[in-house]
């Protein structure tokens, strides 16, 4: 794959008359895992919605796989998992996944594959309303994984999961990244950042850092992402 997976240029978003993203520019190389890290309300979800084409852009632009975000040619090449599990609660796990697979034109074997990938093989006939929060999130994740899209945009995929499962999902993300899939994963848990290749740190709708984890730690002279984040916020204040 050549060319950038995502390129944002001077992106600004206004939601409900409030500016939620200010002049954000960054590039994402294909096959990398990008951590979108920041406190809640920092614009992570808005940025992800913009990348998948759900958000009206006020200013600037976002290109995904060389096309403007939301282009119809991108719709089966970008997998999106929203923060709230967007699945049908009154359908079973398999019925949910099979429905989306049907729309995308994938065979039954693809449904089985993603069910195994998110470790829900024992719950296939259970209705989503009977599942735990973490299991629901995994149904939603399974749908995003259908057809191995070139870009996966995952909004807080590991919230509420037990550490063992979290570990295994990050293993899956790494495996996908190694096979050439680009992942943009948001989290407000700073220690998940260490598992990413590069980080986009957001605060108050602005990008405060965009670099590899090791570079961010080296530049701030800190040992973990949380300290680095605080350091960057402090530095930002002094500059103003």
């Amino acid at each position: 794959m050549d060319g950038l997976a995502v390129e944002a240029r001077h992106l600004s978003i206004v939601r409900d008359k409030l500016r939620t993203l200010y002049n954000v520019s960054f590039q994402v190389q294909p096959g990398t895992i990008v951590g979108l890290i920041g406190p809640s309300g920092s614009g992570k979800t808005t940025l992800m919605r913009t990348i998948v084409g759900l958000q009206t852009i006020a200013d600037g632009s976002v290109d995904v796989l060389g096309l403007p975000a939301g282009s119809s040619a991108l719709r089966d090449r970008v997998g999106y998992m929203a923060q709230t599990p967007s699945v049908y609660e009154d359908l079973s796990v398999r019925q949910n996944i099979a429905y989306f697979a049907g729309i995308l034109g994938y065979p039954r074997s693809e449904v089985d594959r993603v069910i195994h990938e998110v470790d829900l093989a024992k719950q296939t006939t259970q209705r989503v309303e009977a599942l735990s929060g973490g299991q629901r999130a995994r149904v939603s994740l399974a749908i995003a994984l259908l057809g191995r899209p070139a870009l996966l945009v995952l909004d807080e995929p590991t919230v509420g999961l037990d550490p063992v499962l979290r570990q295994s999902l990050w293993g899956l993300f790494r495996q996908l990244g190694d096979s050439g899939v680009t992942l943009i994963v948001s989290s407000h848990v700073m220690d998940e950042a260490a598992r990413c290749d590069t980080l986009l740190l957001t605060r108050g709708g602005r990008l405060i850092a965009n670099d590899s984890v090791s570079n961010i730690l080296a530049q701030t002279g800190t040992g973990d992402v949380e300290s680095a984040f605080l350091q960057l916020v402090e530095k930002g204040k002094r500059h103003v």
């Binding site: 084409g53 009206t56 939301g70 089966d76 019925q95 429905y99 729309i103």
Partner: protein, 244 residues
């Protein structure tokens, strides 16, 4: 495009079949209301023959409107609609999928109410029963289309339910069931000329009085068909891929 349409219809049906109580209410309530009406007019059978057919088309219309508006509203508020719009699915295939699923529900509902009306309650109409049922079906699917459309303007299920009195009652009052349209003030008649339910009631009155397909009936069915297509197209325009 076709696959997404029938997959959506099938998915909506699966959801309905997982909720037997809603299904029971949907299928039985219109029929039970008609039975009630029949015994209300036990001593005035000719009146039942006048009002019965009109309610036979109105009841399914109202129930389909309600069920559809709440179901689609859920789809809008729970994020599944937005998710679908990030896939290659077209807006029209979503809408037509819904129309097919609820159209099938309406077919069962209307089949039941027609069977009971003609075979048990002895409803007298000059026109053929199948044509009455077909008219009712067109009107019911129009109810689906209008339900899909109004769900765009509701944010909560409470609001969606309130759209029933807001959208349906004016049509019900002015459709010619309660007061003959010729006796209405000009501006009211003008309003009723716009409402689709007026043509549903007029069509069924034609079927009550004539055994053949009259010009008026043809005109009514044509107008209802246009309303149906229009409602589905406009409803698909209310689906927004991008939000502000």
């Amino acid at each position: 495009m076709f696959r997404a349409t029938y997959m959506t219809a099938w998915r909506v049906l699966l959801q309905l079949f997982h909720d037997p109580r809603t299904l029971g209410l949907l299928w039985l309530v219109p029929t039970l209301l008609l039975v009630l009406l029949r015994y209300m007019y036990d001593n005035q059978r000719p009146l039942f023959d006048v009002i019965g057919p009109q309610l036979l088309v109105i009841f399914p219309f109202v129930t389909m409107f309600l069920v559809t508006s709440v179901t689609t509203l859920r789809e809008r508020t729970r994020g599944t609609l937005e998710r679908l719009l990030t896939t290659p699915m077209t807006k029209l295939s979503f809408i037509v999928g819904y129309a097919l699923a609820f159209g099938l529900m309406a077919t069962i509902q209307i089949g039941l109410i027609s069977l009971v009306a003609f075979a048990w309650l002895g409803l007298n109409m000059a026109g053929p029963a199948w044509l009455v049922a077909c008219t009712a079906l067109v009107v019911a699917v129009l109810g689906v289309g209008l339900g899909l459309f109004v769900s765009a303007f509701a944010r909560t299920e409470f609001q969606a339910v309130q759209f029933m009195p807001a959208f349906i009652f004016p049509q019900f009052l002015l459709c010619g069931l309660l007061v003959a349209r010729d006796n209405m003030a000009d501006w009211l008649r003008w309003l009723s000329d716009i409402f689709p339910l007026t043509y549903a009631v007029e069509a069924v009155k034609e079927l009550s009085a004539h055994s053949t397909i009259t010009d008026t009936l043809q005109k009514d069915l044509l107008i209802l068909g246009c309303w149906l297509v229009g409602a589905l197209v406009v409803a698909s325009l209310t689906l927004r891929r991008r939000s502000e």
